[in-house]
């Protein structure tokens, strides 16, 4: 294979945009959680269970976590693109990161709906 500098993988905009959207979701989620905790100084196990027994709260929490994982994927891939140059090593790291994030997603569902 000739050693050429290759650019032109047309996914730059999509991931950049998704990273922004997921950031907004996470900011909204963090703010809502912060306000809830401030309004309920008696935060304990019972209140926590009561809060997460509501289906909309579970759904939003899942949305928050999935946003976090996708955001993390774009960010980690950016770091790998900067510092890991051999394409083979990079591919292995990408696959490992994707597998870990998929695992976390399944685990999140299990935790949220197992409470």
């Amino acid at each position: 294979m000739v050693n050429r500098v290759v650019v032109g993988a047309h996914y730059g905009l999509r991931d950049w945009l998704i990273q922004r959207v997921t950031a907004v979701v996470m900011a909204a989620g963090s703010l809502a959680m912060g306000i809830y905790i401030l309004l309920h100084p008696d935060m304990g196990y019972d209140r926590w269970i009561a809060l997460f027994s509501s289906q909309p709260v579970r759904a939003f929490a899942l949305l928050f976590l999935l946003s976090l994982f996708y955001h993390a994927w774009v960010g980690v891939r950016d770091i790998v693109m900067d510092y890991v140059k051999p394409a083979s090593v990079r591919l292995v790291i990408h696959v490992l990161v994707i597998l870990a994030l998929l695992l976390y997603s399944i685990w999140s569902v299990q935790i949220l709906w197992g409470m």
Binding site: G8, L13, L17
Partner: protein, 231 residues
């Protein structure tokens, strides 16, 4: 005044070194380049680029006390001593303060820095309204000195793939030009995780630009246009 200047001749030196200089000069009203010209009279082995000596040609860009700038428009009186001078970071050194700007200009040329218009040339000029022309303000003034691009960490890590702030400012200069007809091709060319999207809005480019231009804003406008095109 005291100076510490980066010295390196890749043909004879094993590694770069910092050399101390002392110069009897009254800083008031003088620029750094004046001091460098006097230092070169003292030691003619000191190598640097210079030409217009008034911030128009962009030849004497260098790293001055850790910050990229043009020696010819940096007042001596504002500099902390010893004044540390190094070549622009992230580019191969040819000698002392002279760097090889090939990679920088390769990226600049990659964005096709010229008007693309397939209409037959009119009898007179291709006209713009004053409002259309105003869109080019803050873009066309770039002198390609390289201060911004060589202060950008994304360019340091990927100089072969990331266009860099100077090139992207020029890319937007032609996208913003109403006489140009290649907006879509230009956006296609930049729709890439490296060429445009290595920019993480660090804004070193805005911080150092000797012409006070704003490449980050131009990059943001390119991204806006891409979003507008997509949705």
């Amino acid at each position: 005044m005291k100076f510490r200047i980066y010295r390196y001749n890749p043909e004879t030196d094993a590694r770069p070194r910092m050399q101390d200089y002392e110069l009897d000069i009254e800083p008031a009203g003088k620029m750094l380049l004046d001091a460098l010209v006097s230092l070169k009279e003292q030691d003619d082995s000191l190598s640097l680029r210079k030409s217009c000596r008034e911030g128009v040609c962009g030849s004497d860009a260098m790293n001055i006390n850790g910050r990229n700038g043009l020696a010819c428009i940096t007042p001596l009186a504002t500099l902390k001593q010893p004044v540390e001078l190094r070549p622009l970071p992230g580019l191969p050194v040819i000698r002392d303060l002279i760097v090889d700007m090939t990679q920088f200009f390769k990226q600049y040329h990659s964005i096709k820095p010229y008007l693309i218009n397939n209409d037959p040339p009119p009898e007179t000029e291709r006209l713009q309204s004053p409002a259309q022309r105003a869109h080019l303000d803050g873009l066309y003034e770039c002198i390609l000195c390289g201060c911004c691009t060589t202060s950008c960490p994304s360019f340091w890590w990927n100089p072969d793939k990331f266009v860099g702030p100077a090139g992207l400012l020029q890319a937007y200069r032609f996208i913003a030009d109403t006489r140009d007809q290649a907006t879509s091709e230009r956006l296609d060319d930049l729709e890439d995780p490296y060429r445009l999207f290595r920019c993480h809005t660090i804004m070193n480019c805005v911080d150092v630009c000797p012409k006070e231009l704003n490449p980050t804003e131009a990059i943001g406008k390119i991204k806006d246009l891409m979003v507008k095109r997509m949705v």
